[in-house]
């Protein structure tokens, strides 16, 4: 053993100019995460949404992307952090956000304007371009714990035309600003720039409740599949988390019942 240790020191000192600490195990720090507040989803994500990286949540309509994002923002704002929601389709419901527990005073809502320019310019591109510029400005300013870029209603053919360089720039800026950047899209677009990629899939259909006189929409079942998690190989995670998770959300009026 002592001879092995001596050889190791010799090799490291020889290579020190080119590769520092070549044979020493690099200590990987535990990723800083924001819990989403949903126990089953957090368990799958290894604690929550990672900070300083891009998280991509993709899937078709009505698969729980917005509910998940609002729930995550609720946890983050309740920690006292400021957050931003870049809304490409101007679709955020402040009522739902408040019901999820988001502190609205700490939420900067940027609504892309469809009616400001002439009708000719009101193409998805003009709003996407505005959203990308706004996100860029937010990341450059810094200080926001989480920024959600909501492109849920933008068609995949439009999001996929965004140059890859944009996502690389966003990744670096998010890392520098220690901001959790969350994309909500219909199909994955950030490719390898996203540290965490989640796919939302249709889950088992919960029929509307028919206990009263008329049927009532009360709850919805969602399913998340983890496509990529770069933090997964962290030595701090003892057990390999599940690849898929089911979770449910209920309507505001069912809370009252």
């Amino acid at each position: 053993m002592p001879s092995a240790a001596i050889i190791r020191v010799q090799i490291e000192s020889t290579l020190a100019q080119r590769v520092p600490a070549a044979l020493t195990l690099k200590i990987k720090h535990a990723p800083e995460v924001f819990a989403s507040g949903m126990a089953e989803v957090d368990a799958m994500l290894g604690g929550g949404v990672p900070r300083g990286t891009i998280t991509e949540v993709s899937g078709p309509s009505s698969t729980g992307k917005t509910s998940f994002a609002l729930c995550t923002l609720a946890s983050i704002t309740q920690l006292g952090n400021a957050c931003a929601w870049v809304d490409v389709s101007d679709a955020l419901s402040p009522e739902t956000a408040a019901a999820s527990g988001v502190e609205l005073q700490r939420l900067l809502w940027l609504r892309m304007s469809a009616d400001r320019r002439t009708k000719l310019a009101d193409k998805p591109w003009s709003r996407l371009e505005q959203a990308l510029r706004a996100t860029d400005l937010l990341l450059q300013t810094g200080g926001f714990a989480a920024v959600v870029l909501d492109m849920s209603d933008v068609l995949p053919q439009h999001t996929q035309r965004i140059p890859l360089g944009t996502w690389y720039r966003f990744r670096l800026a998010a890392e520098h600003a220690r901001t959790a950047l969350v994309f909500l899209t219909q199909s994955p677009c950030a490719s390898s720039c996203a540290t965490l990629s989640l796919r939302c899939e249709p889950a088992a259909v919960v029929p509307f409740s028919s206990q009263g006189e008329t049927p009532l929409f009360e709850r919805q079942q969602y399913q998340f599949a983890r496509e990529r998690n770069r933090n997964e190989s962290s030595p701090f995670l003892q057990r390999k988390p599940a690849q898929r998770v089911n979770w449910s959300a209920e309507t505001l009026w069912s809370r009252v019942r």
Partner: protein, 495 residues
């Protein structure tokens, strides 16, 4: 050395200053609510005819030749401003004597180089006051109070050599010391009529009988009571103005930024000198053709940084550009105590105030005024009623997470999309939207909602929650029927 300027009977002089034709005629100034008006001031001619201050209006009107005027506060302010202006020409350090209206004390130390000796200065001062339309007594003395008493008690110009104050004011009646009524009565009872008689009393005896006031009055009578001068200073806030005229109209904002930068820096330097910061900047642009363009930049926190202020002005002017070429610039600043915050290592993350302000201004330029901010729910029955408020996050603080269940989020369609709906048995069975037909698998409703039935803006609709299916695509939506327009709309999608 102090020179005191005292216009005797100031209120009558102020009234006559506005109507010079009254000077030779008797007149009174009335004050109070009709019909209980009283004589507030009267000129010398009127008093020689028997009019006294404190008479009622009816009593004053009993004198047929006397003209009655109403008291106008603005005229008095103008008279004050005129006298102050005259005093400013003779000394930079001026104090207004509060208890005697219209009286100003000038610190004339070192003014002999400009105006000659004190006698010449006093005469020049009196001539200037007369040229401005007032008749004033001037007194010059080493002691402030002695000069004030002399100016009030002796007509014309009085110059007291240093050390002779007690002798100079000795012949004045004790009332020239501005006594309280009870002390005036006391001195009358004692048979003390002049300042010299008061000064001749033993100080300890006066103090024993009148208390500490006695000490002050005794010193005043001797012309030895000290005074700390509080000169009138121009208002700091009113002076925070920078103006610039341009030779020819300028239309490009970029060219103006050089000037704005210089003006902002000059304002900031002045503000920093008082350890303050700029809380608001009002930019007034005088336009070609006589119009004015005015914008106010009000950062969330007072700033001491030229670059940030300049950027905010630039973004604001780019968002609201002037309609014509600019021929003049004015910058009015409002100062406030600078923002100081104690940061902590373990406090949650928050944007830096200066950068946040610039970023919000950029966002407003990019997206529009009403599209940037925080949502605030309004007290309204209409679903999803909210208003936009400026984004001002409260200081970082941790809240306990409330253990609420996760709600289904609704993505609102703004404005609502019109959809086609096929009904069967009053229930939606098919929905036609965006060129596609969806079968309704589940429908919950109708939920009838309405509001503001008392006004023109009344609204009413029947809402349905529907699960739509089109081959592989499934969506959960809220659709609504508007009975007034007989149309179906997509209110939003649950996601």
């Amino acid at each position: 050395m102090y020179a005191v300027l005292h216009p005797s009977n100031f209120f009558a002089q102020a009234a006559a200053h506005q109507s010079p034709e009254l000077r030779k005629r008797p007149f009174v100034v009335l004050d109070g609510e009709p019909p209980t008006e009283m004589v507030f001031a009267a000129n010398h001619v009127a008093r020689s005819q028997g009019v006294e201050v404190g008479m009622t209006r009816l009593q004053a009107e009993a004198f047929p030749e006397v003209t009655s005027l109403r008291r106008v506060i603005e005229h008095e302010h103008k008279a004050h401003a005129t006298l102050h202006h005259v005093a400013c020409m003779f000394s930079p350090r001026i104090e207004s004597v509060e208890e005697r209206p219209g009286t100003y004390a000038l610190d004339i130390r070192g003014m002999d180089l400009l105006f000659g000796d004190v006698g010449q200065l006093a005469n020049k001062l009196r001539r200037s006051v007369m040229a401005a339309g007032f008749l004033a007594n001037i007194a010059v003395a080493e002691n402030f109070h002695a000069a004030v008493s002399l100016a009030c008690g002796r007509t014309g110009v009085s110059v007291v050599p240093s050390g002779c104050e007690a002798h100079a004011i000795g012949q004045l009646p004790v009332t020239a010391l501005h006594l309280a009524p009870e002390h005036e009565a006391t001195f009358a009872a004692w048979g003390i009529r002049t300042c010299a008689e008061l000064a001749a009393l033993a100080e300890t005896d006066v103090i024993a009988r009148l208390g500490q006031v006695g000490k002050k009055l005794h010193s005043l009578a001797r012309g030895a009571w000290p005074h700390l001068m509080f000169p009138i200073e121009p208002s700091f806030e009113a002076g925070l103005v920078e103006r610039m005229e341009l030779d020819f109209p300028v239309e490009e904002l970029e060219r103006l930024l050089f000037l704005l930068s210089r003006m902002t820096t000059a304002l900031l330097e002045r503000v920093r000198g008082k350890a303050r910061a700029i809380a608001a900047l009002r930019v007034v642009l005088r336009l070609d053709g006589g119009a004015q363009h005015e914008r106010t930049v009000r950062p969330a926190l007072p700033l001491q940084d030229t670059a940030t202020l300049l950027k905010l002005i630039q973004l604001d002017l780019e968002t609201h550009p002037p309609s014509a070429g600019i021929v003049g610039l004015e910058l009015h600043a409002q100062s406030a105590a600078p923002y100081r915050a104690q940061h902590g290592l373990f406090l949650p993350q928050a944007p830096e105030p200066g950068q946040l302000e610039v970023m919000l201004a950029r966002m407003r330029k990019l997206l529009g005024e009403q599209r940037v901010g925080s949502p605030e729910l309004t007290d309204d029955h209409r679903p999803n009623a909210f208003r936009m408020v400026p984004f001002e996050p409260p200081p970082p603080r941790r809240n306990e997470r409330q253990s609420l269940s996760t709600p289904v989020a609704l993505r609102v369609s703004r404005p609502p999309h019109m959809v086609g709906v096929a009904l069967a048995n009053h229930t939606p069975v098919r929905v036609f939207w965006d060129g596609a037909a969806y079968a309704v698998r589940d429908a919950a409703g109708p939920v009838r909602v309405s509001g503001q039935w008392w006004s023109e803006a009344n609204w009413c609709r029947e809402e349905w929650d529907v699960r739509l299916e089109n081959g592989t695509v499934e969506r959960l939506c809220r659709i609504a029927f508007d009975p007034r327009s007989r149309c179906w709309y997509l209110q939003g999608t649950y996601d």
